[in-house]
Protein backbone atom coordinates (compact mmCIF):
# COMPACT_ATOMS: atom_id res chain seq x y z
CA UNK A 1 0.00 0.00 0.00
CA UNK A 2 2.81 2.34 0.91
CA UNK A 3 6.24 1.90 -0.54
CA UNK A 4 9.02 4.24 0.48
CA UNK A 5 12.30 3.83 -1.35
CA UNK A 6 15.54 5.54 -0.43
CA UNK A 7 13.84 8.81 0.35
CA UNK A 8 16.20 11.62 1.24
CA UNK A 9 15.30 15.18 2.01
CA UNK A 10 17.56 18.13 2.62
CA UNK A 11 16.63 21.45 4.17
CA UNK A 12 19.40 23.63 2.90
CA UNK A 13 22.45 21.66 3.93
CA UNK A 14 20.75 19.80 6.73
CA UNK A 15 19.79 16.25 5.91
CA UNK A 16 16.47 15.72 7.63
CA UNK A 17 15.72 12.32 6.15
CA UNK A 18 18.44 10.00 4.95
CA UNK A 19 17.64 7.13 2.59
CA UNK A 20 14.57 5.99 4.41
CA UNK A 21 12.92 2.88 3.02
CA UNK A 22 10.01 0.89 4.34
CA UNK A 23 6.82 -0.75 3.18
CA UNK A 24 3.39 -0.91 4.71
CA UNK A 25 0.90 -3.61 3.79
CA UNK A 26 -2.78 -2.96 3.28
CA UNK A 27 -4.66 -2.76 6.57
CA UNK A 28 -1.54 -2.64 8.67
CA UNK A 29 -0.87 -0.20 11.50
CA UNK A 30 2.73 0.93 11.37
CA UNK A 31 4.33 2.75 14.25
CA UNK A 32 6.84 5.37 13.35
CA UNK A 33 9.00 5.86 16.34
CA UNK A 34 11.82 8.25 17.02
CA UNK A 35 13.00 11.01 19.27
CA UNK A 36 12.06 14.59 18.47
CA UNK A 37 13.63 15.94 15.30
CA UNK A 38 14.37 12.44 14.00
CA UNK A 39 12.70 13.07 10.67
CA UNK A 40 9.29 11.56 11.38
CA UNK A 41 7.29 14.61 10.37
CA UNK A 42 9.37 15.24 7.28
CA UNK A 43 8.89 11.66 6.11
CA UNK A 44 5.15 11.98 6.68
CA UNK A 45 5.02 15.25 4.84
CA UNK A 46 6.73 13.65 1.90
CA UNK A 47 4.20 10.83 1.93
CA UNK A 48 1.32 13.27 2.05
CA UNK A 49 2.76 15.26 -0.89
CA UNK A 50 3.16 18.33 1.30
CA UNK A 51 6.90 18.30 0.66
CA UNK A 52 8.76 16.83 -2.27
CA UNK A 53 11.68 14.50 -1.57
CA UNK A 54 15.15 15.57 -2.62
CA UNK A 55 15.99 12.03 -3.69
CA UNK A 56 14.18 8.73 -3.81
CA UNK A 57 10.59 7.81 -4.50
CA UNK A 58 7.53 6.89 -2.55
CA UNK A 59 4.27 5.44 -3.77
CA UNK A 60 0.94 5.39 -1.97
CA UNK A 61 -1.70 2.98 -3.27
CA UNK A 62 0.39 2.56 -6.39
CA UNK A 63 0.64 6.27 -7.18
CA UNK A 64 3.89 8.16 -7.04
CA UNK A 65 3.64 10.93 -4.45
CA UNK A 66 5.36 13.40 -6.72
CA UNK A 67 4.14 12.52 -10.19
CA UNK A 68 0.55 11.62 -9.29
CA UNK A 69 0.12 13.79 -6.24
CA UNK A 70 -3.57 14.52 -6.81
CA UNK A 71 -4.37 10.79 -6.94
CA UNK A 72 -2.40 10.26 -3.75
CA UNK A 73 -4.13 13.15 -2.01
CA UNK A 74 -7.54 11.66 -2.74
CA UNK A 75 -6.50 8.48 -0.97
CA UNK A 76 -4.84 9.77 2.15
CA UNK A 77 -6.10 11.32 5.33
CA UNK A 78 -3.48 13.31 7.14
CA UNK A 79 -3.46 14.63 10.64
CA UNK A 80 -0.42 16.83 11.25
CA UNK A 81 0.91 17.32 14.74
CA UNK A 82 -1.10 20.50 15.13
CA UNK A 83 -4.54 19.60 13.83
CA UNK A 84 -5.25 21.91 10.88
CA UNK A 85 -8.47 23.59 11.95
CA UNK A 86 -10.18 26.71 10.72
CA UNK A 87 -11.01 27.73 14.25
CA UNK A 88 -13.64 30.29 13.34
CA UNK A 89 -15.80 27.61 11.72
CA UNK A 90 -18.34 25.34 13.33
CA UNK A 91 -17.38 21.68 13.63
CA UNK A 92 -19.99 20.49 11.15
CA UNK A 93 -19.21 23.20 8.60
CA UNK A 94 -15.53 22.51 8.87
CA UNK A 95 -15.85 18.78 8.31
CA UNK A 96 -18.27 19.43 5.49
CA UNK A 97 -15.75 21.80 3.91
CA UNK A 98 -12.99 19.20 4.19
CA UNK A 99 -15.27 16.54 2.71
CA UNK A 100 -15.93 18.83 -0.18
CA UNK A 101 -12.30 19.62 -1.00
CA UNK A 102 -11.33 15.99 -0.51
CA UNK A 103 -13.73 15.17 -3.31
CA UNK A 104 -16.52 13.37 -1.45
CA UNK A 105 -19.51 13.01 -3.76
CA UNK A 106 -21.96 15.85 -2.93
CA UNK A 107 -24.82 13.38 -2.59
CA UNK A 108 -22.91 11.36 0.01
CA UNK A 109 -21.43 14.28 1.81
CA UNK A 110 -24.06 14.81 4.47
CA UNK A 111 -24.00 11.15 5.40
CA UNK A 112 -20.21 10.98 5.37
CA UNK A 113 -19.95 14.02 7.62
CA UNK A 114 -22.51 12.66 10.10
CA UNK A 115 -20.85 9.23 10.20
CA UNK A 116 -17.40 10.68 10.75
CA UNK A 117 -18.63 12.90 13.55
CA UNK A 118 -20.22 9.87 15.22
CA UNK A 119 -17.10 7.78 14.82
CA UNK A 120 -14.81 10.40 16.33
CA UNK A 121 -17.25 11.39 19.04
CA UNK A 122 -17.76 15.01 18.08
CA UNK A 123 -21.41 14.71 17.03
CA UNK A 124 -22.68 16.41 20.18
CA UNK A 125 -20.47 19.45 19.63
CA UNK A 126 -21.17 19.69 15.91
CA UNK A 127 -22.64 23.18 16.18
CA UNK A 128 -19.90 24.61 18.34
CA UNK A 129 -17.29 26.95 16.95
CA UNK A 130 -13.99 25.05 16.91
CA UNK A 131 -12.19 27.84 18.74
CA UNK A 132 -14.28 27.18 21.85
CA UNK A 133 -13.50 23.45 22.03
CA UNK A 134 -11.05 21.87 24.43
CA UNK A 135 -7.73 20.48 23.24
CA UNK A 136 -9.05 16.94 23.28
CA UNK A 137 -12.03 17.79 21.12
CA UNK A 138 -9.90 19.78 18.73
CA UNK A 139 -7.73 16.70 18.37
CA UNK A 140 -10.80 14.64 17.55
CA UNK A 141 -11.99 17.16 15.00
CA UNK A 142 -8.51 16.88 13.53
CA UNK A 143 -8.97 13.14 13.32
CA UNK A 144 -12.43 13.55 11.81
CA UNK A 145 -10.92 15.83 9.21
CA UNK A 146 -8.50 13.07 8.21
CA UNK A 147 -11.21 10.41 8.09
CA UNK A 148 -14.14 12.06 6.41
CA UNK A 149 -13.39 10.94 2.87
CA UNK A 150 -12.79 7.37 4.03
CA UNK A 151 -9.21 7.27 2.78
CA UNK A 152 -7.26 4.09 2.14
CA UNK A 153 -4.30 5.44 4.01
CA UNK A 154 -4.23 7.38 7.24
CA UNK A 155 -1.15 9.28 8.30
CA UNK A 156 -1.25 10.50 11.87
CA UNK A 157 1.51 12.62 13.29
CA UNK A 158 1.59 12.25 17.08
CA UNK A 159 -2.17 11.88 17.40
CA UNK A 160 -2.23 11.67 21.19
CA UNK A 161 -0.01 14.60 22.03
CA UNK A 162 -1.50 16.92 24.61
CA UNK A 163 -4.43 14.73 25.55
CA UNK A 164 -5.33 13.61 29.03
CA UNK A 165 -4.91 9.91 29.87
CA UNK A 166 -8.55 9.06 29.30
CA UNK A 167 -8.60 10.77 25.93
CA UNK A 168 -5.36 9.06 24.98
CA UNK A 169 -6.95 5.67 25.60
CA UNK A 170 -10.00 6.66 23.58
CA UNK A 171 -7.95 7.87 20.65
CA UNK A 172 -5.83 4.72 20.70
CA UNK A 173 -8.93 2.56 20.72
CA UNK A 174 -10.27 4.54 17.81
CA UNK A 175 -7.05 4.13 15.85
CA UNK A 176 -6.97 0.41 16.57
CA UNK A 177 -10.54 0.04 15.36
CA UNK A 178 -9.62 1.81 12.14
CA UNK A 179 -6.86 -0.69 11.32
CA UNK A 180 -7.91 -3.36 8.87
CA UNK A 181 -10.05 -1.04 6.78
CA UNK A 182 -7.39 1.61 6.59
CA UNK A 183 -3.65 1.41 6.31
CA UNK A 184 -2.26 3.55 9.08
CA UNK A 185 1.08 5.15 9.77
CA UNK A 186 1.29 6.60 13.22
CA UNK A 187 4.22 8.58 14.48
CA UNK A 188 5.02 9.01 18.10
CA UNK A 189 7.82 9.41 20.53
CA UNK A 190 5.83 7.72 23.25
CA UNK A 191 6.87 4.08 23.39
CA UNK A 192 3.96 2.31 25.05
CA UNK A 193 1.75 3.79 22.41
CA UNK A 194 3.51 1.75 19.78
CA UNK A 195 3.37 -1.53 21.64
CA UNK A 196 -0.31 -0.93 22.32
CA UNK A 197 -1.54 0.09 18.91
CA UNK A 198 0.91 -0.93 16.24
CA UNK A 199 1.55 -4.20 14.49
CA UNK A 200 4.94 -3.15 13.26
CA UNK A 201 7.45 -0.50 14.24
CA UNK A 202 9.94 1.49 12.27
CA UNK A 203 12.43 3.21 14.52
CA UNK A 204 14.02 6.26 13.02
CA UNK A 205 16.84 8.32 14.43
CA UNK A 206 18.71 11.27 12.96
CA UNK A 207 16.93 10.72 9.67
CA UNK A 208 17.79 7.03 9.28
CA UNK A 209 15.81 3.89 9.85
CA UNK A 210 17.62 2.07 12.65
CA UNK A 211 15.25 -0.84 13.17
CA UNK A 212 12.10 -2.31 11.74
CA UNK A 213 10.15 -5.18 13.25
CA UNK A 214 7.19 -6.23 15.37
CA UNK A 215 7.23 -4.58 18.79
CA UNK A 216 7.57 -7.93 20.58
CA UNK A 217 10.39 -9.08 18.32
CA UNK A 218 12.31 -5.92 18.90
CA UNK A 219 12.12 -6.49 22.61
CA UNK A 220 13.06 -10.16 22.33
CA UNK A 221 16.08 -9.51 20.17
CA UNK A 222 17.65 -7.51 22.87
CA UNK A 223 16.72 -9.86 25.68
CA UNK A 224 19.07 -12.66 24.76
CA UNK A 225 20.32 -12.16 28.26
CA UNK A 226 17.86 -12.63 31.07
CA UNK A 227 17.21 -10.26 33.88
CA UNK A 228 15.43 -10.93 37.14
CA UNK A 229 14.99 -8.86 40.21
CA UNK A 230 15.02 -10.48 43.67
CA UNK A 231 14.32 -9.22 47.17
CA UNK A 232 16.12 -11.12 49.90
CA UNK A 233 16.20 -10.73 53.67
CA UNK A 234 19.75 -11.32 54.85
CA UNK A 235 23.16 -9.67 55.23
CA UNK A 236 23.65 -7.55 52.12
CA UNK A 237 27.34 -8.26 51.40
CA UNK A 238 26.93 -11.98 51.93
CA UNK A 239 23.91 -12.23 49.70
CA UNK A 240 25.59 -10.31 46.94
CA UNK A 241 28.77 -12.40 46.96
CA UNK A 242 26.89 -15.70 47.17
CA UNK A 243 24.61 -14.79 44.30
CA UNK A 244 27.53 -13.59 42.20
CA UNK A 245 29.20 -16.92 42.72
CA UNK A 246 26.38 -18.78 41.01
CA UNK A 247 27.52 -20.25 37.73
CA UNK A 248 24.89 -18.77 35.42
CA UNK A 249 24.73 -15.31 36.97
CA UNK A 250 26.92 -12.82 35.21
CA UNK A 251 26.20 -9.71 37.19
CA UNK A 252 24.55 -8.69 40.44
CA UNK A 253 23.51 -5.10 40.82
CA UNK A 254 22.17 -3.93 44.18
CA UNK A 255 19.11 -1.77 43.66
CA UNK A 256 16.79 0.38 45.72
CA UNK A 257 15.81 -1.20 49.02
CA UNK A 258 12.20 -1.27 50.14
CA UNK A 259 10.69 0.01 53.39
CA UNK A 260 12.19 -2.82 55.38
CA UNK A 261 15.90 -2.03 55.74
CA UNK A 262 16.84 -5.68 56.15
CA UNK A 263 15.30 -6.65 52.80
CA UNK A 264 17.71 -6.03 49.95
CA UNK A 265 16.91 -5.91 46.30
CA UNK A 266 19.20 -7.04 43.53
CA UNK A 267 19.06 -7.09 39.80
CA UNK A 268 20.55 -10.28 38.40
CA UNK A 269 21.68 -10.72 34.84
CA UNK A 270 22.56 -13.96 33.14
CA UNK A 271 24.39 -14.44 29.92
CA UNK A 272 22.84 -17.71 28.88
CA UNK A 273 19.28 -18.26 27.87
CA UNK A 274 18.84 -20.92 30.54
CA UNK A 275 16.56 -20.28 33.46
CA UNK A 276 18.36 -19.00 36.52
CA UNK A 277 15.42 -18.55 38.85
CA UNK A 278 15.42 -22.06 40.42
CA UNK A 279 19.12 -21.83 41.07
CA UNK A 280 18.80 -18.45 42.74
CA UNK A 281 15.87 -19.58 44.87
CA UNK A 282 17.75 -22.67 46.04
CA UNK A 283 20.84 -20.59 46.92
CA UNK A 284 18.78 -18.22 49.04
CA UNK A 285 17.03 -21.02 50.95
CA UNK A 286 20.20 -23.03 51.46
CA UNK A 287 21.89 -20.04 53.07
CA UNK A 288 18.99 -19.63 55.45
CA UNK A 289 17.81 -16.27 54.13
CA UNK A 290 14.23 -15.38 53.27
CA UNK A 291 13.15 -14.87 49.69
CA UNK A 292 10.61 -12.07 49.50
CA UNK A 293 10.22 -11.56 45.81
CA UNK A 294 11.51 -12.70 42.47
CA UNK A 295 10.32 -11.48 39.09
CA UNK A 296 11.61 -11.45 35.54
CA UNK A 297 12.51 -8.06 34.14
CA UNK A 298 11.93 -8.00 30.40
CA UNK A 299 13.57 -5.24 28.48
CA UNK A 300 10.88 -2.69 27.78
CA UNK A 301 10.47 -1.13 24.40
CA UNK A 302 11.81 1.95 26.07
CA UNK A 303 15.13 0.22 26.64
CA UNK A 304 15.19 -1.03 23.08
CA UNK A 305 14.54 2.42 21.86
CA UNK A 306 17.28 3.95 23.95
CA UNK A 307 19.58 1.14 23.00
CA UNK A 308 18.98 1.74 19.32
CA UNK A 309 18.98 5.49 19.27
CA UNK A 310 21.93 6.09 21.54
CA UNK A 311 24.32 3.73 19.81
CA UNK A 312 26.65 5.21 17.27
CA UNK A 313 26.05 2.51 14.68
CA UNK A 314 22.65 1.15 15.45
CA UNK A 315 21.93 -0.61 12.19
CA UNK A 316 23.30 -4.05 12.93
CA UNK A 317 20.13 -5.30 14.58
Amino acid sequence: MIDVRQVTRYFGRVKAVDQVSFQVEKGEILGFLGPNAAGKTTTMRILTTFLPATKGTATVAGYDVHLKSMEVRKRIGYMPENPPLYTEMRVRDFIDFVASIKGVDPRDRKRAVAETMDKTGVAHVSNRVIKTLSKGYKQRVGLAQALVHNPDVLILDEPTVGLDPKQIIEVRELIKSLGGNHTIILSTHILPEVSMTCERVVIINAGRVVAEDKPENLTRHLTASQRISVAVKGPKQDVQSKLSALSSVSQVIPSQSGDDASVHRFLLESLAENEIRPQVARAVIENGWDLFEMKPEGLSLEDVFLHLTTKEEGTEL
Partner: protein, 261 residues
Protein backbone atom coordinates in the same frame (compact mmCIF):
# COMPACT_ATOMS: atom_id res chain seq x y z
CA UNK B 1 -14.25 24.01 -10.58
CA UNK B 2 -16.17 22.70 -7.60
CA UNK B 3 -13.07 23.03 -5.46
CA UNK B 4 -12.75 26.62 -6.57
CA UNK B 5 -16.26 27.46 -5.43
CA UNK B 6 -15.79 25.59 -2.17
CA UNK B 7 -12.75 27.73 -1.42
CA UNK B 8 -14.54 30.94 -2.42
CA UNK B 9 -17.48 30.15 -0.15
CA UNK B 10 -15.29 29.19 2.78
CA UNK B 11 -13.20 32.33 2.52
CA UNK B 12 -16.27 34.54 2.27
CA UNK B 13 -17.90 32.84 5.25
CA UNK B 14 -14.69 33.27 7.15
CA UNK B 15 -14.61 36.99 6.36
CA UNK B 16 -18.08 37.40 7.74
CA UNK B 17 -17.73 35.09 10.72
CA UNK B 18 -14.81 37.17 11.97
CA UNK B 19 -14.91 40.92 12.46
CA UNK B 20 -12.63 41.52 9.45
CA UNK B 21 -15.32 42.15 6.85
CA UNK B 22 -17.45 44.34 9.11
CA UNK B 23 -14.56 46.42 10.35
CA UNK B 24 -13.01 46.93 6.93
CA UNK B 25 -16.26 47.70 5.14
CA UNK B 26 -17.52 49.83 8.02
CA UNK B 27 -14.39 51.93 8.36
CA UNK B 28 -14.04 52.32 4.61
CA UNK B 29 -17.60 53.60 4.38
CA UNK B 30 -17.19 55.82 7.41
CA UNK B 31 -14.07 57.54 6.20
CA UNK B 32 -15.35 57.83 2.62
CA UNK B 33 -18.56 59.21 4.11
CA UNK B 34 -16.70 61.90 6.03
CA UNK B 35 -14.86 62.98 2.90
CA UNK B 36 -18.05 62.75 0.89
CA UNK B 37 -19.68 65.14 3.35
CA UNK B 38 -16.75 67.57 3.26
CA UNK B 39 -16.52 67.53 -0.52
CA UNK B 40 -20.23 67.87 -1.11
CA UNK B 41 -20.77 70.67 1.44
CA UNK B 42 -17.81 72.45 -0.09
CA UNK B 43 -19.35 72.03 -3.53
CA UNK B 44 -22.67 73.41 -2.28
CA UNK B 45 -20.93 76.44 -0.83
CA UNK B 46 -19.08 77.05 -4.06
CA UNK B 47 -22.38 76.83 -5.91
CA UNK B 48 -24.08 79.28 -3.54
CA UNK B 49 -21.24 81.76 -3.84
CA UNK B 50 -21.29 81.50 -7.62
CA UNK B 51 -25.05 82.07 -7.59
CA UNK B 52 -24.69 85.17 -5.44
CA UNK B 53 -21.97 86.55 -7.65
CA UNK B 54 -24.09 85.91 -10.71
CA UNK B 55 -26.99 87.80 -9.12
CA UNK B 56 -24.71 90.69 -8.21
CA UNK B 57 -23.47 91.11 -11.74
CA UNK B 58 -26.91 90.28 -13.19
CA UNK B 59 -25.60 87.31 -15.14
CA UNK B 60 -27.04 83.87 -15.72
CA UNK B 61 -25.97 81.57 -12.88
CA UNK B 62 -23.01 79.39 -13.97
CA UNK B 63 -23.51 75.67 -14.42
CA UNK B 64 -21.05 73.98 -12.10
CA UNK B 65 -20.25 70.37 -12.86
CA UNK B 66 -20.85 68.07 -9.90
CA UNK B 67 -19.04 65.22 -11.64
CA UNK B 68 -15.90 67.27 -12.00
CA UNK B 69 -16.05 69.11 -8.72
CA UNK B 70 -17.39 66.57 -6.26
CA UNK B 71 -17.49 63.04 -7.61
CA UNK B 72 -14.05 63.00 -9.16
CA UNK B 73 -12.22 64.09 -6.00
CA UNK B 74 -14.33 61.63 -4.07
CA UNK B 75 -13.17 58.81 -6.33
CA UNK B 76 -9.58 59.89 -5.84
CA UNK B 77 -10.04 59.88 -2.10
CA UNK B 78 -11.65 56.46 -2.17
CA UNK B 79 -8.78 55.07 -4.24
CA UNK B 80 -6.45 56.19 -1.46
CA UNK B 81 -8.60 54.72 1.32
CA UNK B 82 -8.72 51.44 -0.56
CA UNK B 83 -4.93 51.44 -0.48
CA UNK B 84 -5.04 51.28 3.29
CA UNK B 85 -8.02 49.00 3.73
CA UNK B 86 -7.55 46.34 1.06
CA UNK B 87 -4.24 45.02 2.43
CA UNK B 88 -6.23 44.23 5.58
CA UNK B 89 -8.53 42.10 3.48
CA UNK B 90 -5.78 40.04 1.87
CA UNK B 91 -3.29 39.82 4.73
CA UNK B 92 -4.80 36.74 6.31
CA UNK B 93 -5.41 34.71 3.15
CA UNK B 94 -2.20 32.67 3.27
CA UNK B 95 -0.36 34.12 6.26
CA UNK B 96 -3.01 32.87 8.64
CA UNK B 97 -3.10 29.42 7.05
CA UNK B 98 0.63 29.19 7.54
CA UNK B 99 0.47 30.35 11.11
CA UNK B 100 -2.31 28.01 12.14
CA UNK B 101 -1.09 25.05 10.10
CA UNK B 102 -4.21 24.73 7.98
CA UNK B 103 -1.95 25.15 4.98
CA UNK B 104 -1.06 21.50 5.50
CA UNK B 105 -4.69 20.57 5.03
CA UNK B 106 -5.00 22.72 1.94
CA UNK B 107 -1.81 21.47 0.32
CA UNK B 108 -2.51 17.80 1.01
CA UNK B 109 -6.04 17.95 -0.35
CA UNK B 110 -6.81 17.25 -3.99
CA UNK B 111 -7.09 20.97 -4.69
CA UNK B 112 -4.60 22.47 -7.10
CA UNK B 113 -2.60 25.54 -6.16
CA UNK B 114 -4.33 27.45 -8.92
CA UNK B 115 -7.74 26.52 -7.53
CA UNK B 116 -7.16 27.78 -4.01
CA UNK B 117 -5.25 30.81 -5.21
CA UNK B 118 -8.05 31.83 -7.55
CA UNK B 119 -10.61 30.99 -4.88
CA UNK B 120 -9.00 33.21 -2.29
CA UNK B 121 -8.54 36.05 -4.75
CA UNK B 122 -12.16 35.82 -5.82
CA UNK B 123 -13.36 35.93 -2.23
CA UNK B 124 -11.34 39.09 -1.59
CA UNK B 125 -12.61 40.59 -4.86
CA UNK B 126 -16.20 39.87 -3.86
CA UNK B 127 -15.67 41.56 -0.52
CA UNK B 128 -14.27 44.61 -2.26
CA UNK B 129 -17.19 44.62 -4.66
CA UNK B 130 -19.54 44.71 -1.67
CA UNK B 131 -17.59 47.64 -0.27
CA UNK B 132 -18.09 49.58 -3.49
CA UNK B 133 -21.74 48.63 -3.78
CA UNK B 134 -22.43 49.95 -0.29
CA UNK B 135 -20.60 53.16 -1.10
CA UNK B 136 -22.98 53.68 -4.02
CA UNK B 137 -25.47 55.01 -1.48
CA UNK B 138 -23.53 58.29 -1.58
CA UNK B 139 -24.10 58.51 -5.32
CA UNK B 140 -27.80 57.80 -4.90
CA UNK B 141 -28.04 60.79 -2.59
CA UNK B 142 -26.41 62.94 -5.26
CA UNK B 143 -28.97 61.69 -7.78
CA UNK B 144 -31.77 62.67 -5.42
CA UNK B 145 -30.53 66.22 -4.77
CA UNK B 146 -28.66 66.93 -7.97
CA UNK B 147 -28.26 65.66 -11.48
CA UNK B 148 -24.86 64.03 -11.91
CA UNK B 149 -23.98 62.35 -15.15
CA UNK B 150 -24.09 58.57 -14.98
CA UNK B 151 -21.24 57.75 -17.40
CA UNK B 152 -18.34 59.14 -15.36
CA UNK B 153 -19.75 57.55 -12.22
CA UNK B 154 -19.74 54.14 -13.88
CA UNK B 155 -16.25 54.48 -15.33
CA UNK B 156 -15.09 55.84 -11.97
CA UNK B 157 -16.38 52.77 -10.20
CA UNK B 158 -14.90 50.50 -12.84
CA UNK B 159 -11.54 52.22 -12.40
CA UNK B 160 -11.81 51.99 -8.65
CA UNK B 161 -12.58 48.28 -8.87
CA UNK B 162 -9.71 47.52 -11.26
CA UNK B 163 -7.33 49.54 -9.13
CA UNK B 164 -8.50 47.65 -6.05
CA UNK B 165 -7.99 44.31 -7.76
CA UNK B 166 -4.36 45.28 -8.34
CA UNK B 167 -4.01 46.00 -4.64
CA UNK B 168 -5.62 42.69 -3.80
CA UNK B 169 -3.45 40.60 -6.10
CA UNK B 170 -0.27 41.96 -4.56
CA UNK B 171 -1.77 41.74 -1.10
CA UNK B 172 -2.29 38.06 -1.83
CA UNK B 173 1.31 37.75 -2.96
CA UNK B 174 2.71 39.31 0.22
CA UNK B 175 0.47 37.07 2.25
CA UNK B 176 2.11 34.00 0.70
CA UNK B 177 5.53 35.22 1.79
CA UNK B 178 5.08 35.30 5.54
CA UNK B 179 3.12 33.75 8.37
CA UNK B 180 2.66 37.12 9.99
CA UNK B 181 -0.46 39.00 8.92
CA UNK B 182 0.82 42.36 10.04
CA UNK B 183 3.98 42.07 7.98
CA UNK B 184 1.92 41.00 4.98
CA UNK B 185 -0.34 44.04 5.32
CA UNK B 186 2.44 46.56 5.83
CA UNK B 187 4.56 45.17 3.00
CA UNK B 188 1.53 45.42 0.72
CA UNK B 189 0.85 49.01 1.70
CA UNK B 190 4.44 50.06 1.16
CA UNK B 191 4.63 48.28 -2.16
CA UNK B 192 1.42 49.80 -3.47
CA UNK B 193 2.33 53.22 -2.17
CA UNK B 194 5.56 52.95 -4.10
CA UNK B 195 3.77 52.15 -7.34
CA UNK B 196 1.23 54.82 -6.54
CA UNK B 197 3.80 57.57 -6.10
CA UNK B 198 6.27 56.44 -8.73
CA UNK B 199 4.67 58.86 -11.20
CA UNK B 200 5.56 61.85 -9.02
CA UNK B 201 9.21 61.28 -9.83
CA UNK B 202 8.56 61.95 -13.49
CA UNK B 203 9.18 65.70 -13.05
CA UNK B 204 12.65 65.24 -11.65
CA UNK B 205 14.08 62.72 -14.09
CA UNK B 206 14.72 62.75 -17.81
CA UNK B 207 11.56 63.09 -19.91
CA UNK B 208 11.87 59.63 -21.40
CA UNK B 209 12.27 57.96 -18.02
CA UNK B 210 9.60 60.21 -16.57
CA UNK B 211 7.10 59.05 -19.14
CA UNK B 212 8.00 55.45 -18.47
CA UNK B 213 7.57 55.94 -14.73
CA UNK B 214 4.17 57.51 -15.28
CA UNK B 215 3.17 54.45 -17.22
CA UNK B 216 3.92 52.34 -14.17
CA UNK B 217 2.08 54.55 -11.75
CA UNK B 218 -1.08 52.96 -10.43
CA UNK B 219 -2.85 56.26 -9.95
CA UNK B 220 -1.99 57.83 -13.33
CA UNK B 221 -4.06 55.17 -15.02
CA UNK B 222 -6.95 55.89 -12.71
CA UNK B 223 -7.21 59.51 -13.73
CA UNK B 224 -8.95 58.87 -17.03
CA UNK B 225 -11.50 56.60 -15.36
CA UNK B 226 -12.38 59.31 -12.87
CA UNK B 227 -12.83 61.80 -15.72
CA UNK B 228 -15.27 59.48 -17.40
CA UNK B 229 -12.92 58.23 -20.07
CA UNK B 230 -12.95 54.54 -20.76
CA UNK B 231 -9.65 53.61 -22.36
CA UNK B 232 -8.71 49.97 -22.85
CA UNK B 233 -5.01 50.69 -22.28
CA UNK B 234 -5.79 51.41 -18.63
CA UNK B 235 -7.91 48.29 -18.34
CA UNK B 236 -5.06 46.27 -19.81
CA UNK B 237 -2.61 47.91 -17.40
CA UNK B 238 -4.63 47.00 -14.33
CA UNK B 239 -5.35 43.51 -15.56
CA UNK B 240 -1.65 42.88 -16.22
CA UNK B 241 -0.91 44.14 -12.73
CA UNK B 242 -3.45 41.67 -11.33
CA UNK B 243 -2.08 38.80 -13.39
CA UNK B 244 1.44 39.67 -12.29
CA UNK B 245 0.43 39.59 -8.62
CA UNK B 246 -1.36 36.29 -9.02
CA UNK B 247 1.52 34.80 -10.96
CA UNK B 248 4.01 35.79 -8.26
CA UNK B 249 1.72 34.32 -5.61
CA UNK B 250 1.53 31.09 -7.55
CA UNK B 251 5.31 30.89 -7.88
CA UNK B 252 5.72 31.72 -4.22
CA UNK B 253 3.40 28.91 -3.11
CA UNK B 254 5.10 26.40 -5.39
CA UNK B 255 8.59 27.38 -4.29
CA UNK B 256 7.69 27.39 -0.59
CA UNK B 257 6.93 23.71 -1.04
CA UNK B 258 10.39 23.02 -2.39
CA UNK B 259 12.13 25.12 0.16
CA UNK B 260 10.07 23.47 2.87
CA UNK B 261 8.71 26.48 4.66
Amino acid sequence: MRNYWTIVTRELKSYFSSPVAYVVIGLFLLISGVFYYLIVTNFVQVCMRADMQAQMYRMAPPKLNINMMAIRPLFHNMSLFALFFLPLVTMRLYADEKRSGTIELLLTSPVSNLQHLAGKFTAAAVLYLLMLIFSFVYMILLYIFGSPETGPILTGYLGLYLLGLSYLSFGLFFSTLTDNQLIAAIATMVFILFFWAIGWLSGSVSPALGQALEQFSLIEHFDDFSKGIFDTQHVIFYLSFVVMGLFLSFISIESARWRGR
